[in-house]
Symmetry: C2
């Protein structure tokens, strides 16, 4: 079975002190489900219990009801795929479903993670975009102070766009991905450039969030929460600075730490 976590070299800043170390990061991997020989969906997931994930997904979608409906179930670990053959092929739901390709991922799953996407998103510049560690912490504090809907309900994610060390746009949504899409839409409507800004999130930095940012040439993402192996690898390739676990007086910088500078050099 695939490993579920991986050691990544990171830069930790704690109480102003910067040091290189390594940290355990959760593995994010694509799983493509083939139903009766046809590609149905690609999920971004933690690569274990993959046959169960495929069966459960098909059950949730109403494409099968019990194991009795299944003629064959094959894990193609090398290809990140599960093949499911139903006894009763070509049912109505399968026909309806067969007409769509859905990519789900852990979040709002319509951004297909593929080499293509990574290639289309060529490396970002924005190397002049820098923040001091103090500014990173201040942005995260402001994000939390402004999260009034979260304070009232505990049920939403917050996202913000920052420039010049200040939050310029702030959104909350029950969906991590929706919150970021709202930020993007606000930028479009205000005609605001994004390639010199920083995305501040309350939620996890999965590959889909990273790709949203990469498509907008955003050079830096910071979050209170964890990244995944896939988002770190994409950020590395795309020259994006990924900062996670921004809490209290510490943060983890997973890629391109040059954009987080010491106050004394600021």
């Amino acid at each position: 079975m695939a490993e579920l976590s991986a050691r990544k070299e990171i830069t930790v800043i704690r109480e102003g002190e910067r040091r290189l170390t390594d940290d355990e990061v959760v593995v994010e991997a694509p799983l493509t489900i083939y139903l009766n020989g046809r590609e149905l969906v690609t999920l971004l997931c933690t690569p274990d219990k993959l046959e169960s994930l495929a069966l459960g997904f098909l059950r949730s979608e109403g494409l099968l009801n019990s194991l009795d409906d299944v003629a064959a179930l094959r894990l193609r670990d090398d290809r990140g795929a599960v093949e499911v053959e139903l006894k009763n092929k070509g049912g109505l739901l399968e026909k309806l479903y067969g007409r769509r390709t859905i990519t789900s991922g852990c979040g709002k799953g319509t951004i297909f993670y593929s080499a293509l996407d990574a290639l289309r998103s060529s490396p970002v510049r924005g190397d002049s975009v820098t923040l001091t560690a103090g500014e990173v912490h201040a942005l995260m504090r402001e994000l939390q102070e402004r999260a009034t809907l979260f304070k009232a309900t505990g049920g939403v994610h917050a996202a913000a766009l920052a420039g010049g060390g200040k939050i310029l746009i702030f959104c909350e949504d029950i969906g991590r991905h929706n919150a970021v899409d709202k930020i993007i839409g606000e930028c479009l409507r205000q005609g605001m450039a994004m390639e010199d800004k920083v995305l501040v999130c309350s939620g996890r930095l999965s590959s889909e969030i990273l790709l949203k940012a990469a498509k907008l040439r955003l050079p830096m993402l910071i979050s209170r929460a964890a990244p995944t192996t896939l988002s770190i690898e994409l950020a590395q390739t795309l020259n994006i600075t990924l900062v996670g676990f921004v809490r209290g007086r510490r943060m983890n910088i997973y890629t391109h730490p040059h954009r987080v500078i010491d106050a004394r050099n600021a």
Copy 2:
């Protein structure tokens, strides 16, 4: 603009004491995006900045690049819809995209929230399935103790199926929805009945999680995190007991509290 949160009457159990009160719950609402007159996608979201959400979603999906591509943008608040007309109609991406209907939601969005879904999921029975408050807390403690991947990485959700006050199946995944689908798949493979079991989650109880459970006739969901208005309304209709914010010595029971019994009556 629509309200972003609503007061819901709940039963709070704290330190063994049970009382009726009310609590602020985040509103979850469907937003359907029409592109050039054709239904493209339905997102489950927090109903504000809806035009920005639609624009940002289309930008993230590569269906537009800037506001210059947009001929018209109309919010149909009454119908929970945003209509977007592009200047350049019938582009390749739109053609490709037009062939699929994606439902996204805040999570893995392929379960379309619709009246249909609610109807298909007729009310569950399972009124004999009960837990004491102590058993609810014990299940949540066990979920957290077993969440070794979360402890190592901080980047995953946990889900479990419990019966007779014990955890029978446990899964972790970067995706809230994946974790639940893994549980469902494990049940199918083990031939385990679900209509007398309890679903235990670390993550938020959105409408899509609720509908997954309803389709399996699960009578009770408990979570450390928050529900949404939509999941509460569905649980109410479907006779499902929804318990949220199970933390320390307290919990909030949002619907059908009769399944959480006093120890002395147990």
